[in-house]
Each structure stands twice: as C-alpha cells, then as structure tokens.
Amino acid sequence: MAISESDVKKVAHLARIGLSDDELKLFSSQLESIIAFVDKLREVEVSSVKPMSHVLEMDNVVRLDEKKKSLNREEVLKNAPESLKGHFLVPKVIE
C-alpha cells in the first residue's frame, strides 16, 4: 500500500511530532516498505482466532482502597520545565 507524505503528516500530527521535510520524505518511503513487509500478515487465515493482548492468563488484579502517601509537591514539580504557584505551567491551550 502506498503511503503518501500527507498520510505521514496526518499521523505525525496525531502523534504530535514535528517533522522536517527531509524526515517526511524519508519516513514516507521507509514506512511504505515496512508496511509492505507487515502486509505479509494478510496471507494468514485468522477469522476464527482470538487476538492475544496479554500473554498471561490472569484476571481480577486489584488493590484495596487504602491510602498511600502521595509525593510532596516539591517532588511533583521538581522535574517540571516550568511551574507557577504550585502548578505545572503550559503554554496557552488554544483549540
């Protein structure tokens, strides 16, 4: 299946990754060959096969509703590139 630069651009936007024109070109052709490679899976008959998202047969893993110590605020914000008044600061969210 052909993968156009505009396809890659769309996906890169979904993934919030900026790409240079060179990267866009390179990735489009590389993705196309990778997708062509994984398209090999189309030859497998899977209509009656269950998908496997966990390798272990386990279920109902829960914890008790018991409080644990939170981090103190200093620790929470220690790695923050920018913070203000005990909050993380981000550029204006515009839609």
């Binding site: 279920d59 929470v76 909050h87 600061l89 204006k92």
Partner: protein
C-alpha cells in the same frame, strides 16, 4: 412542521472511593494543587496502574441499580489523545467491553411513567484540572486518576423536562447507593447532552449537536430548550444542522460553538496492556446485590403501602435519601406518618431551602423534632407558633420546650383565660356579631381570628370558638 426531540445524556459520576482508581492517592476535594499525586497518577515514566477494587464494586452497584447486565468479561482500554490535563496523554477507559450494558431508569413526569434506556456504564479515570490565565495555563493533577463511571443513556429522552427528571432520579439513585456525592459544583457529577430533531414520525435521526459545560440540572434543561429552539429555527428556514460541540453560556443563556475547526478525533483505542482483564463472577454480583440498599422507587412504593402516604408526598420524601431516612427515624418515635410528612415537605423543607442546607446538617436531633410535633399535636402550641419554634431550632439547635418557654408560646386553652378577650372582641365587632346572629356562620370565624390576634396567636382556636359561641348565645338572650 412538528418536530420530535431526541436527547441522549452522558453522565460522569466521580466514585466516592477513598483513593484514586489506579493508585493510593487520596481523592479528597479542595486540597492544595498537586499535593495528591504520585508517580502513577502523574503518569511518570515506569509507573504502572493497579485497579482499586472499590471502584469496580461501586460501578457494579450502579450497573445493578440501573438494571444493567454486568458483563462477565470486562477490560480497560487506552483512549489516546494529547491534552495537558491528561498526564499520560492517554486515558485509561473502557471501549468495547464495558462493565455494564443495557439497563433502564424509570422516571415519572406529570404522572406518566417512562423508561429511559441505559446504553452502557463504564469505568475510567478522571483528568486533572486546567486553569487558564493570561498567555498560559496551569495544571493541577489532584483530580487526575479519580475513578469515574460514565453512564450513557439511549436516545430515549424527548424533552428537556424529561432530561431534568432523569438527572434527578439518577442522582437520587447514586446517593442511595452511596457511590457519588453528586455535587455538580464540585464536579463530582457532570453531564453532557446529545440532541437532535427530526420531523414527527420520521425514522432516521437528525444531525445531533453535543452540549457541554452544563453545570447544573437547570443548565441542562435550559440549554436543551435553547438548543431545540435554535435547531428548529434552522430546520424551518431550510438550513442544515452542523454536527458540533456546543458550550452552554449560562449567563447569556445561549449555546456557542466550541471550535471553529472541528478536528476529527481519532482516539486509537487499544486494550490496556498494563491491566489484565476482569472476570466478574456470578457470586460477586450476587454478593453486591445482597447488600444493595432499598432504592427510591421501591422505597416510595413501600411508603405508600405501609404508611398510607400520597404518591406525591412519598415521591418528594424519597427523592433524597437523607430525607427518607429522617422520615423513617421520626416515624419510629412518633407513628403519625401523615403529620410527619406534612412537616417534612412543608415547613422543614422551607427552612432547609432558605438556608441552602441539607437535612444531614440539621442542628437538632430526630428526638427534638418529635418533641415539636408532639407540642403541635397536643395543641399546646399553635401551628403558627410551631413554625416559629422550628425556625429557632434550625438557627440555634435549642430544644422546642426551651424555645416555647423563652418565647412564651404555649397556647391558651383555658376557657376562663379566653373569656375576657372574647368579651372585648364581641364588644368591638358589632357588625360581625349581628351577622352571626342573623345566621351567617362565617362571621364566627372572623371573630375567632380576632381572638387569635388579641392573644398574639396564643389562643387555642378551638377553645376560642367554643367560648365565643357560648357568649354570643348568651349575649343574644340578654338583649
């Protein structure tokens, strides 16, 4: 043309667990920003979620109360989108195998009962809080990771009033189940609405809009009414409805479009690899069923059957769990259902509403309330005085006996004491006296009223009436 309104509601109820959905951080409201966060709910690299068993249990409780099928196999999925209130840039939610499917909730509107279908209910984690100021936004993750139950109706709601009634009933159920505070101001209950119009009788649904920023039940009703009008006008002028998300502007009483450029959302759901599936066994469902509290619908039926309450009165009392509890507690000490319900629905509700208070925060006990009722019932104070006593009880929490004594509100039931007043009234109201004698029975009521007035409300009206009658007859013979 007549249009049929089609509404569906999505409610997000914050579950009242002690800790968050996937970590042990507290869920307490109103704490300092970013003080209830840990590597897990912050989505720090390497951290992993483990489900709070209470969140699952509460979800099942609600599913059962809404007559849903609790799914035997349920799992979590990742809903992927970038937003700064979402620490991992994906939300742990449920996609194709939700906790509960296919239930209903019965509402009553103008004495008509209607079933609103519940499409599904699923668990997910809440996002943090964004504060927009100036050229930046601030993020607080205290709320991030609090368990939410998203409850989605079928598009069965056909008017803003029905939507309102649905929310009132749902809130009552959630409160009865003790799984959610249902405080819209604090955001523990949130509602989005989908609405479309179609020509009466049409099979296909019209284009819908999604309404957000609905901060109260009233806002839901008002926004829906507004949106019906807006869509109708568009349709009638031959225009198209644009499928979009609209925000309700409460002060301007109108909806406005959230985005100019609606970006098609692609959430890229896939099974959450960090959480193995959940198999809900019948024994677990039964165990939860066994301890489900009596729900408003059943309670109402019982109140009507057991205590002879009217449908209307029972409906009001069961609408709030605390009120229903108070009713039954009072009844245990003082078995006069009708009297109690009158006082709860009337004066007590009035006092609570005027103070914007809930019955849980009353400053007096059930026993005090019973004393008040006894005083009225035994005619030791008048109804009017009793209302004043109740006001004082709400203000100070003092016992009714003390208030009655302090304010000297005991009713005068002694005929001798009332005779002097009656004489004065007869002497000062010749016309009414004459009317009475000429057979106008109403005149007597007027005279009783005058006795009440002169006695500053303390006269027992029954006794006053007797005394007046006697005197008027005698007065007639003397003349």
């Amino acid at each position: 043309m007549n249009y049929e309104v089609v509404i569906g509601l999505e409610v997000h109820a914050q579950l009242k667990t002690n800790t968050k959905a996937f970590c042990g951080c507290s869920t307490q409201f109103g704490q300092e920003a970013n003080t209830q966060a840990c590597p897990v709910c912050l989505g720090f690299p390497g951290s992993l979620p483990v489900l709070n068993e209470k969140a699952l249990e509460y979800g099942i409780r609600v599913g059962l109360a809404l007559h849903c099928q609790i799914q035997k196999l349920t799992k979590f999925d990742r809903k992927n989108y970038f937003y700064p209130d979402l620490p991992k840039n994906y939300q742990i939610s449920q996609y194709d195998l939700p906790l509960a499917l296919g239930g209903f909730l019965e509402i009553e509107l103008k004495e008509l009962r209607k079933r609103i279908g519940i499409h599904r209910a699923h668990l997910e984690e809440d996002a943090g809080k964004l504060i927009h100021e100036g050229d930046h936004s601030l993020v607080d993750y205290n709320r991030a990771g609090i368990p939410l139950l998203e409850i989605v109706t079928e598009p069965d709601i056909s008017s803003p009033d029905e939507a309102y009634e649905y929310l009132v009933s749902l809130k009552a159920i959630l409160k009865y189940l003790e799984v959610c505070d249902c405080d819209m101001e604090k955001g523990s209950l949130r509602c989005d609405a989908n609405i479309s119009l179609r020509p009466q009788g049409a099979k296909e649904l019209g284009t819908k809009t999604e309404l957000k920023n609905l901060n109260s039940f009233k806002a839901v009703r008002d926004a829906l009414s507004y949106e019906i009008k807006r869509q109708k006008e568009l349709l009638e002028s031959g225009k198209r409805i644009v499928q979009e998300t609209l925000l309700w502007d409460e002060s301007g009483e109108k909806t406005y479009s959230m985005r100019t450029k609606e970006e098609a959302m692609d959430y890229r759901y896939f099974p959450e690899p960090d959480l193995p599936a959940f198999v809900i066994r019948d024994e677990k469902i039964q165990a939860i069923k066994d301890v489900l509290p009596e729900l408003p619908e059943a309670l109402k039926k019982r109140f009507i059957a057991q205590y002879g309450l009217s449908d209307y009165d029972a409906g009001i009392i069961v609408a709030e769990k605390a009120l229903a509890k108070f009713f039954e507690a009072t009844l245990r000490l003082y078995p006069k259902a009708k009297l109690i319900s009158n006082w709860l629905i009337g004066p007590l509700s009035y006092e609570l509403n005027s103070r914007n208070m809930s019955i849980e925060s009353l400053s007096f006990s059930v026993e005090s309330f019973v004393s008040l009722l006894t005083l009225v019932d035994e005619a030791r104070i008048s109804n009017l005085a009793a209302k004043e006593v109740l006001t004082q009880m709400c203000n100070t929490g003092a016992s009714p006996e003390v208030i009655v004594k302090e304010k000297n509100l005991l009713q005068v039931s002694d005929a001798g004491e009332l005779e002097g007043i009656a004489d004065k009234v007869i002497a000062g109201n010749e016309k009414s006296t004459a009317d009475y004698k000429s057979g106008k029975a109403n005149a007597l009521m007027f005279l009783v009223g005058q006795v009440m007035k002169l006695s500053e409300g303390k006269a027992n009206p029954k006794v006053a009436q007797e005394v007046l009658k006697k005197k008027l007859e005698k007065w007639g013979k003397d003349a």
